[in-house]
Symmetry: C2
Subunit: 311 residues, 2 copies
Amino acid sequence: MSLTVVGSIAFDAVKTPFGERPKMLGGSAVHFALAASFFDTVRVVGPVGEDFGDAELAVLEGRSVETADIERVAGGQTFFWSGVYGWDLNERETLATELNVFAEFEPKLSEQSRDCDVLFLANIQPELQRQVRDQCRRARFVALDSMNLWIEVAKQSLEAAIADVDCLILNDAELRQLTEQPNLVRAAERILEMGPSVVVAKQGEYGSALITADGFFSLPAFPLADVCDPTGAGDTFAGGFVGYIAAHPDVAISHDLLRRAMAYGTALASFNVQEFGTERVARLTAAEITERVAQLGRITQFVDVPLTLRD
Amino acid sequence: MSLTVVGSIAFDAVKTPFGERPKMLGGSAVHFALAASFFDTVRVVGPVGEDFGDAELAVLEGRSVETADIERVAGGQTFFWSGVYGWDLNERETLATELNVFAEFEPKLSEQSRDCDVLFLANIQPELQRQVRDQCRRARFVALDSMNLWIEVAKQSLEAAIADVDCLILNDAELRQLTEQPNLVRAAERILEMGPSVVVAKQGEYGSALITADGFFSLPAFPLADVCDPTGAGDTFAGGFVGYIAAHPDVAISHDLLRRAMAYGTALASFNVQEFGTERVARLTAAEITERVAQLGRITQFVDVPLTLRD
């Protein structure tokens, strides 16, 4: 079985209170692929420029990510994003977004990428997400991420893209913005009416929530005393979440399976934020993930004991 | 055994997207007491004005709250707060805070109130909290809440008050502000160094986190499709949390006990926000609380299944 992801492959310039990186490997498809690589064969689809070198490819290949569908555009420059984070890392300012090779990108998937079992449409133009979705009709589970920009400038196309996937993964504020529902539960219900059967609300440092017709589930972020750089945390979460589902091709996508997938996504994301960009996840081990999922279980469980209350 | 709370007894004027109340019963001690009344005998200490009538007392007495230490100040006006909430209820603007009878308040506790087993110092001037704390030296568990205002105008007094209690319950942003630590885990560690052995970070719609020397625990807020008025949610949470501890006089205050206390606080708070002010909690039943705690358990649990990851 295999997992295909289309999304940005980028250079990021990031400044946080804990340091800065003027040019590091990033992009939604990259963060996703590294996380998902612990679960399944991952194929990345997307364009890069001539400035994208062997060192960057080596990070992906070091995690056995399939890079044959990464298209190097002659004369082009790789997608570039630059941002600065505030003191508690909850606010960030985007300084620059240069689409570069993404402006003219027309996704052409290899037979292997088209034949994926699971597909993730990471945050890029909804039109591109729809083109890729159309080429992967055999996938049994398709998830999609997006952002406020596309809600603002391409809402109809985004809604059409969402209607054609199984799972929407979005920041909670964006779920509210997209559905014009101030209440998260109602916002998720609107999404379930649009087509998807699974909604995941990303809540930044607070964790994430899962909403399906079978109910609600919530997990906090893993508590860390040192958070260095949140860039890519949401895509890394998605990589763990979607990857976990891809790792279970013969298992029905039940609420229990989705809950466990949330735990793996949360664990992966927590490693991502501990260092800049892909630095921590690139050298992560399976044992570290397993241990963190177990810790996450311990910090979220309580056992009620019958108590007679005063009526 | 009994629980004493000192804090504001107020009239609130509140406007949310779902309606408004020009003058309703409120105040930190009131919300706390109604919630805690499900667990123990609760005594409220605080002043009210001549405008505080039998109808307001009846709400407290309807939940068997002891009101003998509510001091009616001749010629005085009850504490008044007025605020407006934004469309998703996560932001609110305070329109007016009138201390009125609280400006001259000197807490004089009855012997019964002083002899409490558990004490809650709800959000009022830190000097008043310290005066009450000094009168209740036999309490085995003392918790304190505060707000950004006191961090800004009375930080030294607040720090002295915190140093003399077992538990600090504070919004996460205020924990960061108080300790000047952008990271919540580090902020809580600073508080543990100041004296308290228990820190609870309130996180609004996201729930709450518990930090002690024994570890970290986190619970989401109970998901609701209809939230009407968040006023008093934090105090209602504290009432459930501290009340649960008060209900266990012969049990060591372990991490497991505190986790369960968090669940009861979360359940109580979720009822509070469903209607304006004290309206919902005033007619709440024990069975409803028990059922919601059980639901909370179900939406926060995941069971990991061993999985071989790809290293």
